[in-house]
Each structure stands twice: as C-alpha cells, then as structure tokens.
Subunit: 335 residues, 2 copies
Amino acid sequence: MRKVTLRDIAKEVGTSPATVSKVLTGRGDDLIGKETREHVLAVARKLGYSPNLAARALVTGRTHCIALWAETLADFHSIVANAFMDQLRPSQYEIVITDVVKHPDWHAYFQRTPLWPVDGIIALDSPHSVRAYLAASAGRNVPVVSVGAYYVTEMDYVGVDLASGLEAAVRHLYEEGCRRIAHLTCPHGMRPGDGRREAYEATVREMGMTPELLVAEQSSREDGRRTVLAAGERGDLPDGLVCFNDEMAIGACKALHEMGVAVPDRVAVTGCDGIPDTEYFPTSITTIVQPVETLCRTAWEFLRHRIEHPDAPRQAAILQPELRVRGSSRRRGAA
Amino acid sequence: MRKVTLRDIAKEVGTSPATVSKVLTGRGDDLIGKETREHVLAVARKLGYSPNLAARALVTGRTHCIALWAETLADFHSIVANAFMDQLRPSQYEIVITDVVKHPDWHAYFQRTPLWPVDGIIALDSPHSVRAYLAASAGRNVPVVSVGAYYVTEMDYVGVDLASGLEAAVRHLYEEGCRRIAHLTCPHGMRPGDGRREAYEATVREMGMTPELLVAEQSSREDGRRTVLAAGERGDLPDGLVCFNDEMAIGACKALHEMGVAVPDRVAVTGCDGIPDTEYFPTSITTIVQPVETLCRTAWEFLRHRIEHPDAPRQAAILQPELRVRGSSRRRGAA
DNA sequence: CTGAAAGCGCTAACAA
DNA sequence: TTGTTAGCGCTTTCAG
C-alpha cells in the first residue's frame, strides 16, 4: 500500500498534478473550476491523501517547522516549552525540540550534525549555542530569536531582566529585617557577567552588607539542599537566602526544615523563576516570577515577523519579572 | 548568499555531485579515492556546507525525525519528554513534539493538518490520537509505539500498570491504619475503564470498605486543593486519600495544611507518577513512581526495531511502577 | 481555467 | 574509482 501522491489523485480525476496541487494548497480557489475542485477534493479525501511535506519543503524552501532550542526540558524550561506550544498551536507550524548545548562537542555540532531544516529558531537560555550557530552557519539564513534570562543581543531577542528581580528580592529581605543576606547559587551563576549574582552583590553592597556566596555543585534541589545543610552544620547560616532559582530554594527550604530552622523567622528564603511548585509548599516560597506568557508571545511575534521580513530592523524587548512575596519571606502580616 | 549545495562543492572540486554525496554521507569511504575525498571534505568545510535534509528525505524516504505525541508537556509528561530526549541524544534522530489531542477537532486533524513526516512516533498517554491516526492513515506506514498508562494494544506498546500501583497504595494505607480511604480523582479518571479508579474501587471493596470518590474538575494542584478544602468544610474528610496523580496529592496536602489537618496522622496521602516535587515537601509525599527511564528506553528500542523491521511481530511490554512510601503516609517508624 | 515542463537538492542505480 | 542518468513528490511559471 504505497503512499498516495498527487499524481494518483490526478490520474483518478483525469487531470494534471498541477491542477490538483492548486486545489489542495488553496492557491487556485478562484482560478480552478468549481467542478474540478470538488472532484479533486473528493478523491483526495477518498484516497486518504496527505502531502509529502519534505517534497513541498524542497520546492518552497519552507518547512513550517520552528525549532525550540534548550539545554533541557526540565523544570522552568518545560513551562516555557509548554507556553511556546500554546503560542504555536493556532499557527500552521510544528515544533522541533532540539537540545543543543548538552551535545558533548557542540562547537563542532552545527558543522557535523545536520539539524533539521526549520523556518525559524527560538533559542531559550542558550547563548553559547546561538553564537556557535551563527559562527558555523555563515551562509545560512534561518532567523533566530534569542530568549530568556541569557540572551544574545546581536539578533532579535526577548530578554528577561532577572537582575532587577534579584535586586528586588534583596531589598525585600532587608525590609523584612534580614541583615545577613546570602546568595545560594551554582557555578553557572558564578560565571563572570551573570546578571543574577552581580545584581545580588551590587545591591547587598549598596545596602551596606557584605556579599556572601553559597556555591553548590549544580542548580538542582538536591544541590541546594546539601549546600544549605553543610552551612547549617558549620553553624554558619545567614538570616536571608536569595536563591539562584526555585529548585535551589526548594532544596534550601527542605534542608532548613530538616534542621529544624524556622522559615522565614530564622532564615527567610526567596527563589527565582516562578515554577508552580513554589506556591504549593505548606510554607509557600517567595519567588521572582518570569513573564512566561509574554515572553513566548513576543518571541513568536518577532520570529513571525522576521520570517516574513528578513531585512526588518532588529526587534528587541526586555521583560521585567515580578517579585511575588509569599510565606517563605514574609515575617509580618498574614500567612 | 545562497545556500551551498552539493553542486557548488562538486564544481569547485571539479567532480560530480554524486561523488561528493558519496563522500559526505560516508557511503563511499572505501570506494572513493583518498585524494578526492579529502579534497571534497576540505571544500565542504570551507564553504560551510550543510545538507538539505528535506531533499535527502525526499529521496531516501527517511527524515531521521521521531515524533513525541503528548497532550501537554506539563508535569509528569515533561519528565518523560526529557527522558526521551536523553534516549535519542546519542542517536541521529531529532525530536518533533506534537501536541495532538488538544487540537479542537482532532478527529479531522490527521486528514487536514499535514503532520511533519517522521520515521516513527511515540505516543504518550494519547490513545485517542493514536486511534484517530490509524483510522485516518490507512495508506501510511509510519510506525507508532503507544506508551504510558494509557496505551493501545493494537500496535507496539510499552504500558505502565498503574492499577497495580493504586492497589498497592490502598493496601499500604490500610496497613497504616486507614479505614476510610477515598480516591481523589478527576473526570478523566472517572471514564469507564480507567485503570486507576477501577483498581482503587476493587481493592477497597476487597478489603471490606466502601469506595468514596472525590472528583475535582480537572487534575491540577489547584483542583486537588479546592476539592479537599470543600470536603473539609463539609466536615467530611476520610483518613486516607489516594490521589489520581502527584499534582492532586500536592494540592490535597496544601489544603490539609491550610485547614490544620495533620498529615499523615489524621489523613494519610498518596500521589501517583513520581514527580520530583513529591520528595521535597517538608512532609515528603508517598507516591507511585513510574519507571520513566525504562519506559523510554524500551519504547525507543521497540521503535528502532520496528523502523528497521516493519514486519516484525508485535512488541509489547508492561512495566510495573513502584510504591515509594514517604512521610505523607508513614504513621509509624522514622520520618 | 488547465496542463506541460522544469526543477528544488539530493541519492542510487548503472555505466564507464 | 568516478560520472551519468533518473527521479523522489511537489510547486511554479508559462503556454495553451
């Protein structure tokens, strides 16, 4: 049972493939006879025809696929991926998810592994891949929108200004009475130029305190938990803890709970990203909520526009996150 | 700056496209002269060549794309998607994520929307889409592996026997002293034939108790929370709560905490799926852990095999989940 | 309004 | 060892 092609339909209808194509793509709604059109449509349905998109892509140069690049789909990124799917659903585009960075030798990645041809790329928190791609793809022409807390400004981008969120978190903890505010982070956050850590350090200094970094091995819950446990065992806990992300904040809260340390009274905690988990803990966790829906909507608008107007001027947006104060840092007032 | 093609390379090297193709696909490693080969390789690199996969797919009939079908990428499904990506990473395949079911008129979906051509499909908890697809694609030939708690047995499948997990959960709660064990579920779980609910009912009856269903509007945390709050306000709480999934269990715990009801002493709670969140609550949540890694590995093995051997006999596996007892249901012994 | 012809970029026989 | 030819399934001028 071979796949049904345009030619099969044409043969059965007694017309040419060209005509069938025009009918089926709708490009001939006003220049193909009503009778022929309906006949074609009927036969197409009867035969269960569906077009070979690879063939179509070959001639049109459009695949109607959009790639979402991310390092992983875990945690916060899965939320973004979901929102992105919501954005694309009404469109004619499909989503190809590619995990770029994790590839062991991603420097050579784009030269070796031929990625699936897409009409556009949304690169989520993966500036390195984007740069590598740009360098490797001099001749290619696929538009990229760089998106997230880590973005690239050499192209269209939708950034999230987490630095301002971190600053707000530090100020908030200060107002709640914290006088020794530490930052629980990971090697990633320690890299030079990391907006979160730098904003933390700057704000803390500005307020007359000394930056204090707790650096875990990675940024998972377990890493956060272990690092805070270790600090507790050293008898060296701060009274405020601004975390790199929600995962680490959750781990930190777990550790504090295990040690019998009161949250927020002894140690106040804030997370970052706004994953739903933070809301559902018995002591809900204060966090910096990323504007995911706006992010995805804007990115998709930019990308759409860029696909249609390759030479349009650069599109850029910086989105502000929102500090959502909850139980893990609120010392006065209602629970 | 046009895209570089095989012909460009051939021209520059002074050979034919066929030869270049052979070199670049490695299909000529032993039948192309070393000199030519190296020359081709050098020029390809210099020109920044990367193949047009649509063209290749058109002639080979292989796209090297695998589709992951899911209703959503939220919660548990994002974990599976991640594991699936881990499986495919070493392979040459890319992942196309398609959210099939949510499409408003998915009955007609497969006839209208031409899905991207893939070499195989992994359908996660989406039996309806699979059936619709099979019905609509009589002539097509793309292998599908049905996967998850809701699977289809007319094809290759890797199922997870959540029913046995639910049974274990009920027995466990009974052993912990619960004598009025309710099931917190959603309309989805109420559909006839739903393994979880049926296993719950059967086990409860078998143990001499009466099934008691708390049906929320959907299966989210908030739905779980609201439903349990309502039950509490009616003064009608059971002493054991077996939940449809972890999301609802988390919501339930939240509600109980808000009402000042002790977990597990007054109400013991179990979830289902094994999402990491359950572990990190101050009172960690007992759950039925799905064997995600095995699931993905097996599914990928099946699919690979099917792609290479379309006529191989049906491949099928039923995986057992594991009840992981934690704080939310353990009344005796250590925390 | 419809069909013939050309070709998208690549691979796979088959010849040379 | 290499080149020639044909064609994957589709769209797109351009004639009719």
